[in-house]
Amino acid sequence: MSENFFKVIRAGINTTFQDLGRSNLNHIGIPISGVMDKRNYIIANKILQNVPSHPIIEFAYQGPRLVYYGEPLNISVSGDVKFKIFKNKNEIEGKCYEIITLEDHDEIDLISTNKSVYGYLAIGADLNIDYQWKSCSINTKANIGSNNGKKLQDSQKIEVSKIKELSRRKLDYINSKIENIRVIKGTNFHYFSKESQANFFKKEYSVTKLTDRMGMRLEGQRLDNIINTNIKSEGLVKGVIQIPADGNPIIMLADHGTIGGYPKIATVISADFDKLSQLTPGSKIKFKEVNLKDAETIFKLYEMETNNIISKIL
C-alpha cells in the first residue's frame, strides 16, 4: 500500500486541525473549541461531499504551504483566500469554492486571507490524526486535540487515507462583511452607568491586535462600571462580552476560558459568530440590541441561508 501524505513546507501563523469541537466538558475547564467560521467549514467539506463533522485545516492570516505526495486527491479552499497551486513548473492561481485535484509532488501555497482572518483547506480523504474527547480540534492553550494539541509545525507530515473518488464541483459564493454585531443584553447590563449603557450601542468599537481563538479585545468609549468591576467567578459561553476594570469589551470566542469574573454586559447572537470571527484588527463595529425571540428567528434564517448556499453547489 502506498503512503499518501502532505509535508508542511511552511506552517503559517496559526494553522490547526478543527472540527465542530468537543461538548459537555466545560465543567472540567475545557472549552468547546472547533472552527471559528462554521459556515465556511461546512461549505468546504460539502463541496468535497465530506460528512458534516469532517476534520479541516484552519489557518489565520497566512496559511500553510504544503507539498503533496501520493495518489490524486481532491481538495477545496473556503474563505476569502489568496492561494497558488504549483504543478510541475506551472503556477496556477487558486480559486476558492471549487474542487482542485492535487497529484504527486504538487504544491499548494495558502498565501493570505484577504481582509478576513480565517480560511479553510478541506481534504477529500480521511486525515490520520488523533481525537481527544471525540474531537480533533486543537486547543493550543491546554494542548488538547490532535497533533499533541500544538499548531502545525514546519516540516511535519499530514498522512491521509481512504482517498475519495475524484469529481468536479464548485460554488459561486462571495463572503459578505458585517458592521453591526447583534447582541442580547447580559446579566450584568445594569452594572454600567446609564451613559455607558447608551454608549455601548451608540459608539463604534475597533477590533485590536489582542485577538485570537480565545477572545477578541475591542477598544473604544470606556464603559463605566458603577457597581463592581468584579463578579463572583461564573461560567462563560461563546459570544459573552465581558467588561474588565479598564472598561474595554472582550468577546469570548471558541477557545475561551470556561469561567470568568468580569461583568457580562451582553452576548453576541449565534447567527453572527462566523462573521464576527472574520473581523481583522482595526475593523470598526457597532453593537445592535435584539431580543431573544428575534435572535432565534435570525438563527433560523442563518441556517436556511447556509442550506440555500450548499444547495447551489454544482
Binding site: 466538558l25 472540567i28 475547564g29 446579566t187 459561553v237 459570544g239 459573552v240 470556561t258
Partner: protein
C-alpha cells in the same frame, strides 16, 4: 432552589442560586449539575457550574431557551447524588523560587512568612468548582487573616503547578497561563491529565484538599 432563571444570549440558560458563596449553595449547584448531567437531554452542549450559578448551554439548531428552561424547572432532583467527596493531599514547596509573591504578601497582610504559611497549611479546603483553564480547582475558604487582593498587574505567565491565593479562595495552575493570584508555592503533582479522558481532573467539585509542605529536594525528586 434556583432563585432565578434567565437567558444568557440565545443559546444558554443562566440559573442563579444566590449571591453568597458558601458550601450549602454550592452543593445545590453541584447537585443540579449532576442530575442534569445524568439525564442527558438532547441538544445540551455544556453544563458549567460555579460557586452559585449553573449555566446550561444548548445547540440552538436542536432546542431553544423555553424548552431547556422547562426541562430544568421540571427536573426531579435526587438528593445527595453521586457528588465527589474525596480527600486529596497536595504536596507544595514554598521555597523562594516557587513562592513568587510571598514577600509581597508579607507586606499586604502585615504578617511574617512563617505565620502566613502556618495559617495556610492548618486548614482543609473545599473544591467549589473547576475551570477557567482545564482542571483548575477553585478552593476555599482560606482564613480571613490571609485575604488579599489580586496582583495589580496580572502575570502574563504563571508557572504550571503554582498555588495562588486571592480573597477567600486558593487555586492550582494546571498549565502555564496568565493570571493575577498571589503565588505562595508550587506542586510537583500533575493535577490535570488530558490522556485520562474519563477522569482527567485530580480534584473535582465536592472534594476536600489539604496541602503538605515539602522541601526543594523532595520537590525535585518527586516525579522520579
Amino acid at each position: 432552589m434556583i432563585k432565578n432563571i434567565s437567558n444568557l444570549g440565545d443559546a444558554a440558560v443562566y440559573c442563579d442560586f444566590g449571591d453568597e458563596v458558601n458550601k450549602e449553595i454550592n452543593s445545590k449547584v453541584i447537585n443540579y449539575f449532576q442530575n442534569l448531567k445524568d439525564f442527558k437531554f438532547e441538544g445540551i452542549t455544556n453544563l458549567t457550574p460555579s460557586y452559585n450559578k449553573l449555566i446550561v448551554s444548548f445547540d440552538l439548531s436542536v432546542t431553544n431557551f423555553e424548552k431547556t428552561k422547562k426541562i430544568i424547572e421540571n427536573l426531579e432532583i435526587k438528593k445527595n447524588h453521586s457528588i465527589s467527596k474525596k480527600k486529596i493531599q497536595i504536596p507544595i514547596c514554598c521555597e523562594k523560587e516557587y513562592a513568587l509573591d510571598l514577600k509581597k504578601l508579607e507586606k499586604k497582610l502585615n504578617k511574617p512568612t512563617d505565620e502566613i504559611l502556618e495559617t495556610f497549611f492548618s486548614k482543609e479546603y473545599f473544591c467549589y468548582m473547576t475551570g477557567f483553564i482545564a482542571g483548575m480547582p477553585f478552593l476555599g475558604d482560606i482564613d480571613k487573616n490571609l485575604h488579599a487582593k489580586r496582583l495589580e498587574t496580572p502575570r502574563v505567565k504563571v508557572p504550571k503547578g503554582s498555588i495562588g491565593l486571592t480573597e477567600q479562595f486558593c487555586n492550582i495552575y494546571t498549565f502555564e497561563s496568565p493570571g493575577g493570584w498571589n503565588i505562595i508555592g508550587n506542586t510537583p503533582l500533575n493535577v490535570f491529565d488530558s490522556l485520562n479522558e474519563d477522569n482527567p481532573n485530580l480534584i473535582n467539585p465536592g472534594d476536600t484538599v489539604s496541602f503538605i509542605k515539602i522541601n526543594k529536594e523532595k520537590y525535585k525528586n518527586y516525579n522520579e
